[in-house]
C-alpha cells in the first residue's frame, strides 16, 4: 500500500474529498497544518510592531490506498487542488508496510 500525503489550500479540501471518493477511496485523515514555502504570508500589524505571518494555513490530507490506485489518487489530487497560483502545495508518496482496521482486525488492503 501507499501513503499519499497532500498539503493543500484549505478551501480546496472539499473538492479533493469529492475527487477521491469518486475514485472509490473510502477514507482519509485530515489535519490542519501551517505551511512555509515560496508563497509569502500576509502582514499582521500590531501596535509598534509589524510582522509577516510566515506560516500560512494549509490542510494535510493523508490517505492510504492499494499500490495500484496510488497513481490515480495522485492525479485526482493534482487536478482538484490546483488553482495554478503559488502555494498550491505538494504531494508526497511512500510505502506503508501494514495496515489494520481496529474494529475488525482486517489487515492490509482489506483494512482500507
Amino acid at each position: 500500500m501507499k501513503m499519499i500525503i497532500a498539503i493543500i489550500k484549505p478551501f480546496k479540501l472539499d473538492d479533493v474529498r469529492q475527487a477521491l471518493t469518486s475514485l472509490g477511496v473510502q477514507g482519509m485523515t485530515v489535519t490542519e497544518v501551517k505551511g512555509f514555502g515560496r508563497q509569502k504570508g500576509q502582514t499582521e500589524i500590531y501596535r509598534g510592531a509589524e510582522y509577516t505571518v510566515q506560516f500560512l494555513p494549509k490542510v494535510k490530507v493523508e490517505v492510504v490506498v492499494p499500490d495500484d490506485m496510488a497513481e490515480r489518487v495522485v492525479e485526482a489530487v493534482q487536478t482538484s487542488a490546483k488553482t495554478e497560483k503559488i502555494g498550491d502545495g505538494k504531494i508526497f508518496v511512500y510505502d506503508i508496510e501494514r495496515a489494520y482496521r481496529i474494529r475488525t482486525g482486517d489487515t492490509d488492503t482489506d483494512a482500507l
Partner: protein
C-alpha cells in the same frame, strides 16, 4: 480607475472628516458662550434623568459589545474580527456625524421644511447649553435626550452590516454608512419622531420599529443584493463559528433593549414599567415560538434558533412597546417568532439572496410584523390619548383605521430607504468599489483588511 482611487480611501475619509471638524470646531469656539442664555431655569427630574442616563448606557451596550458579538459569532472564524470591528467603527463614526448635524436635522424645528427635515439650530451642538431642554423630553436635560437618541442613530446602521457580512471593503462601508445615516436615518427619524409627516399622520412607532428595524432591514436587503452572494455560498460550510459569542451578544441585546424600549418613555414612570413588561414577554414568546417551530420542523432545537427568535421578538415589540398590554405583547411575540423563522429559513432559500445574518429576515420582517400588529393591539389603557385627545387604539380596541395608518408608514419607509440606499451603493461602487477581491475574501477579512488574526 478604481485602483488609482483606492489609496485615497482612508486619506479621503480622514481628509473630509478631520479638517471639517477642526474648522467648524474652532468656528464655534467663540460663539458658544453667548448662546447659554436660557429663558428660565428648567426643573429637571433627577429620577427621570437617572433612568435616561442609564438607558443611554444600555442602548450603547446593545451595539458595543452586544451587536458586535451577536454578529461576529455568526460569521466564519476568518472574518470575526472584521465583523466586530464594523459595529465599533460605526459607533465612532455616527457619534461624530450626530454631533455635527444628525441631531439638529432630526430633532430641532425645521421651520418651513419641518414636515420633511429638522433645522440647523444645533449643528455641532451649537447652543446646547448645560441646562437646555428639548420640548420632546421636558423633564431631562437636552444633553441626555441628545445622547439617548444618538445611541439609536448608532445601532441602526450597525444592524445593516449583518446582511453583507464577509465581503464589503472597509472603506466602502465607512462611506456608505456616513451617507446613509444622514440621508436615510435622519429624515425618517424626523418624519416619525421629530415632528415630520409620518408622526403627524398618526403612525405609531414607540421605540423604532419603523425608524430603526424596517429601515435597517430594507437597507440590508438592498445591499446584499447589490453586492452579491458570498463566494462559496451554497457549497462551502458557512455555519456560525462560535455561537457562544452570539449568545452573549443576544443576551446583551435583550438586557440593553430595556433601555431602548422602556427608555423610550423618556421618564421613569409607569409607562416605562409597562414597556419593559411587554418587551420581556414578547421576547420570550418569540424565542419559544421560533424554537418550537424549528424543533418540530427540523428535529432539533438550536441555539441559533432561540437567540434569533428572541431578537425577532425584541424587534417586533419595539414599535408597540408603549401602546400594548401584556396580552398584546404575548401575541406579538408568538406571531413574530414564527413569521421571522419562515422568512429567514424558507423565504431566503426560495429567493436565493444571501442576506448573510438575516437582517432582512429578522429586523425587516420583524419590524413590519410589529408595526402592523401595533395597529391591531394598541390599547388606550396603556397608550392614553394623542395630542388631539383621541385614544390611541388599534383594531382590537375599536380603531381599525390604525392598521392602515401603520401600513402606510411601513410603505413610505420601505420605498424611501430602498431607493436612496440603492443609489448610494451604486455611486460608491462606481467610485471606490464595494467589494473586496476574491483573494481577500478567501483569505478572510481579518487578515486582508485589518492585518490581524485570532491566534
Amino acid at each position: 480607475m478604481r485602483s488609482l482611487l483606492k489609496p485615497l480611501a482612508p486619506g479621503g475619509l480622514a481628509a473630509v472628516l478631520l479638517p471639517l471638524l477642526t474648522a467648524v470646531a474652532f468656528a464655534q469656539e467663540t460663539t458658544v458662550v453667548e448662546e447659554t442664555v436660557v429663558a428660565a431655569a428648567p426643573t429637571f427630574s433627577a429620577g427621570d434623568t437617572a433612568w435616561m442616563l442609564t438607558s443611554t448606557a444600555l442602548v450603547l451596550m446593545m451595539t458595543i459589545p452586544g451587536l458586535a458579538l451577536f454578529y461576529c459569532g455568526m460569521v466564519r472564524k476568518k472574518n470575526q474580527l472584521a465583523m466586530a470591528m464594523q459595529s465599533f467603527a460605526i459607533c465612532c463614526l455616527v457619534t461624530i456625524l450626530w454631533m455635527i448635524a444628525g441631531y439638529s436635522l432630526t430633532f430641532t424645528d425645521g421651520g418651513a421644511l419641518q414636515t420633511y427635515i429638522g433645522g440647523l439650530n444645533r449643528v455641532l451642538l451649537h447652543g446646547m447649553a448645560i441646562d437646555s431642554v428639548n420640548s420632546l423630553a421636558a423633564t431631562i436635560p437636552e444633553s441626555v435626550f441628545m445622547m439617548f437618541q444618538m445611541t439609536f442613530a448608532i445601532i441602526t446602521p450597525a444592524l445593516i452590516t449583518g446582511a453583507f457580512a464577509d465581503r464589503m471593503k472597509f472603506s466602502a462601508l465607512m462611506w456608505f454608512m456616513a451617507f446613509w445615516s444622514l440621508l436615510v436615518y435622519v429624515p425618517i427619524a424626523h418624519w416619525v419622531w421629530g415632528g415630520g409627516f409620518l408622526g403627524g399622520a398618526g403612525v405609531l412607532d414607540f421605540a423604532g420599529g419603523t425608524v430603526v428595524h424596517i429601515n435597517a432591514g430594507i437597507a440590508g436587503l438592498v445591499t446584499c443584493i447589490v453586492i452579491g452572494r458570498r463566494s462559496g455560498y451554497g457549497s462551502e460550510n458557512m455555519a456560525p463559528h462560535n455561537l457562544t459569542l452570539s449568545l452573549i451578544g443576544a443576551s446583551l441585546l435583550w438586557v440593553g433593549w430595556f433601555g431602548f424600549n422602556a427608555g423610550s418613555a423618556v421618564t421613569a414612570g409607569p409607562r416605562a414599567g409597562m414597556a419593559m413588561t411587554v418587551t420581556q414577554i414578547a421576547t420570550a414568546a418569540a424565542a419559544l415560538s421560533w424554537l418550537f417551530t424549528e424543533w418540530v420542523v427540523r428535529g432539533k432545537p438550536s441555539i441559533l434558533g432561540i437567540i434569533s427568535g428572541a431578537v425577532a421578538g425584541l424587534v417586533a415589540i419595539t414599535p408597540a412597546s408603549g401602546f400594548v398590554n401584556p396580552t398584546g405583547g404575548l401575541m406579538i411575540g408568538l406571531i413574530a417568532g414564527f413569521i421571522c423563522f419562515a422568512a429567514s429559513v424558507w423565504l431566503k432559500n426560495a429567493l436565493k439572496y444571501d442576506d448573510s445574518l438575516d437582517v432582512w429576515g429578522v429586523h425587516g420582517v420583524g419590524g413590519i410584523v410589529g408595526a402592523i400588529l401595533t395597529g391591531v393591539y394598541a390599547d388606550p389603557a396603556v397608550g392614553g390619548s394623542d395630542t388631539a385627545g383621541n385614544p390611541i387604539a388599534g383594531l382590537f380596541f375599536g380603531n381599525a383605521a390604525q392598521v392602515w395608518t401603520q401600513v402606510e408608514g411601513v410603505i413610505v419607509t420601505i420605498v424611501y430607504c430602498a431607493v436612496v440606499s440603492f443609489i448610494l451603493l451604486k455611486i460608491i461602487d462606481l467610485i471606490i468599489g464595494l467589494r473586496v477581491t476574491q483573494e481577500q475574501e478567501v483569505a478572510g477579512l481579518d487578515l486582508s483588511l485589518h492585518g490581524e488574526i485570532l491566534h
